[in-house]
């Protein structure tokens, strides 16, 4: 083996699950879930052994042991004893490239390095400088098959690798129709395929459940009496309607999401496992989602209602306070008004008295009466000044 070759490792990955075993392994080494020899074996608390990937998948769906249904979670899973891992890793497997022709068989733990370094049929990068193509390792030393050559018929450029494929569609060549075995030039073959009378096709209403299929030439007769075809317009209408309703529903749901930001609910918090389990069963998921929503909306509604009640009580309290204040204020004003009114009455009386005494003084004679009236008038003069002042005050007010 030349050094350049051994350095060229294959990037082909090995799926350990897809391997075939030389002899059928002991049933004790099989995983109860995938029924294949254990890969990265792990052990549960109840002492059952599974592939690490299988038990993780199972725990995502149900927190029970897949064998005895005892409660189980991720923490109860530990790596299985090394001996078990060694037993399964030592099982002899056939090379994954067996179908291409590799006859190697080796222990399972060696198969990856066999593919990476030795297998003649593993795909490696083409040896040619600057070529990105992939070839099998045994052909890597030969000439590059990714170079373009000229097609002998249509003179187009084709990669060497694809020449065989190209002949099937080269426009200068003819191919046989798969159904009626007549020969057509390649460019016309596609058009012919759409009308080939011998092709077996499904009934036009197959997507609505009709399982009938026959040659194209004989289908017309079936179509004329197929119940599904007769129902197609109405079924189509229903499908379209359901689609629009679904779209509408989606839009409404989005709107609802915007209005009411979804709040994590206790049921969703019970662990990633249960939420993953929900994903797996869309039916149950839908109903539980709806329930969550209803629950959420209901709590929101309750909260709003209590808010409104609280506000109502506050408003009522404020009303009462305001009424009281207004009443008190009114009383005060009333008192003041009566005071003012009494004052005005007093003034009016004084004014009357003054007017009357002035008239009396104007018409009366002399003597004691006159002197009294002078004294009176001088007194009333004071009074008048006072009254004028108070009237001015009232006017000012």
């Amino acid at each position: 083996m030349s050094p350049s070759r051994s350095s060229r490792n294959s990037l082909q990955s090995v799926d350990l699950r897809a391997l075939d075993y030389l002899t059928s392994p002991s049933a004790n080494l099989l995983c109860p879930i995938c029924h294949a020899p254990l890969i990265t074996p792990v052990q549960t608390r109840c002492l059952h052994t599974f592939c690490s990937a299988c038990i993780s998948l199972s725990l995502e769906r149900s927190s029970t042991c897949p064998v005895d249904r005892k409660p189980l979670n991720h923490d109860d899973v530990t790596p299985a004893p090394i001996m078990i891992a060694n037993l399964v890793n030592d099982l002899v497997v056939l090379c994954p490239n067996r179908e291409k022709g590799c006859t190697t068989s080796c222990a399972r733990w060696l198969v990856e390095s066999h593919i990476r370094e030795d297998c003649e049929y593993a795909t490696v990068k083409c040896a040619k400088e600057g070529c990105d193509g992939m070839v099998e390792r045994r052909e890597a030393e030969g000439e590059c098959v990714h170079e373009e050559v000229e097609c002998a018929f249509c003179e187009g450029a084709v990669r060497k690798l694809d020449v065989e494929l190209h002949y099937k569609e080269c426009p200068k060549l003819s191919s046989d129709c798969r159904h009626c075995s007549k020969s057509f030039p390649n460019p016309e073959l596609a058009a012919h395929k759409l009308i080939c009378p011998d092709e077996i096709i499904d009934c036009a209403a197959s997507h609505f459940g009709c399982s009938f299929s026959s040659r194209r030439s004989e289908l017309d007769e079936h179509l004329s009496h197929c119940h599904f075809v007769a129902l197609t317009p109405i079924l189509q209408l229903h499908t379209e309607r359901i689609e629009t309703l679904e779209l509408e529903n989606k839009a409404i749901r989005q709107k609802l999401d915007l209005l009411v930001p979804p709040r994590p609910l206790p049921t969703q918090l019970s662990g990633a496992t249960s939420s993953a389990a929900n994903d797996s069963s869309s039916g149950r998921d839908m109903t539980s989602e709806m329930q969550d929503y209803t629950y959420h909306l209901y709590s929101e509604y309750e909260q709003l209602r209590s808010d409104v009640e609280r506000l109502n009580a506050q408003i009522r309290e404020l009303d009462v306070k305001q009424d009281m204040a207004r009443f008190n204020e009114g009383l005060r004003y009333n008192d003041e008004m009566t005071g003012v009114r009494a004052a005005i009455n007093g003034l009016r009386m004084q004014l009357h008295w003054l007017v009357a005494s002035r008239r009396e003084a104007g018409t009366g004679g002399a003597g004691a009466g006159g002197a009294r009236s002078v004294a009176g008038s001088s007194a009333s003069g004071d009074g008048r000044r006072m009254s004028v002042d108070s009237v001015r005050q009232v006017v000012k007010l």
């Binding site: 699950r17 879930i33 029924h35 294949a36 769906r61 797996s280």
Partner: protein, 152 residues
């Protein structure tokens, strides 16, 4: 796809070690999730001489979810629903009693066993179960008649 790998394996195992009275195969080569199953009526039962076809549908989550088994041939049996679905009531097929370690071949064995001996405690058609318990002659007569009519 772990499911496909396991189902293919189970099919290969079944073809190598078939269950007596049961034959099974894929409904179409490109879909391993749908099997056609044919049960032949066991000797000594009212279904003797009948050929019953069933559909076995495996969910994509198999083996984490149980398969479903439906009779496409009409059958007079306490454990098979008497409608166009013909669903078979097998305890092991209920999702709460299904285990990922159960195999399809066990399901098929149980289905064949039910033809031999119906399980009245787990009946889906209670009237047929009552008849089977209280009036076995009349049950056998009807079952035989249906077998002759539908399962030949």
């Amino acid at each position: 796809m772990a499911a496909v790998k396991r189902i293919t394996k189970e099919l290969a195992e079944f073809s190598n070690n078939p269950v007596p009275g049961v034959s099974a195969g894929l409904a179409s080569e490109d879909n391993v999730f749908k099997w056609n199953v044919i049960l032949t009526g066991p000797q000594g039962s009212p279904y003797s001489g009948g050929v019953f076809t069933l559909n076995l549908i495996l969910p994509t989550e198999y083996p984490f979810k149980p398969p479903t088994l439906n009779f496409t041939t009409k059958i007079y049996h306490p454990n098979v629903s008497n409608d166009d679905k013909g669903s078979m009531c097998l305890g092991v097929l209920r999702s709460d009693s299904w285990k990922p370690s159960c195999k399809i071949v066990q399901v098929l064995e149980m289905a064949a066993g039910l033809l031999k001996e119906p399980n009245v405690d787990d009946a889906v058609e209670t009237s047929i179960a009552d008849e089977y318990k209280n009036n076995p002659e009349s049950f056998e007569k009807t079952a035989r008649e249906w077998t002759r009519k539908y399962a030949k």
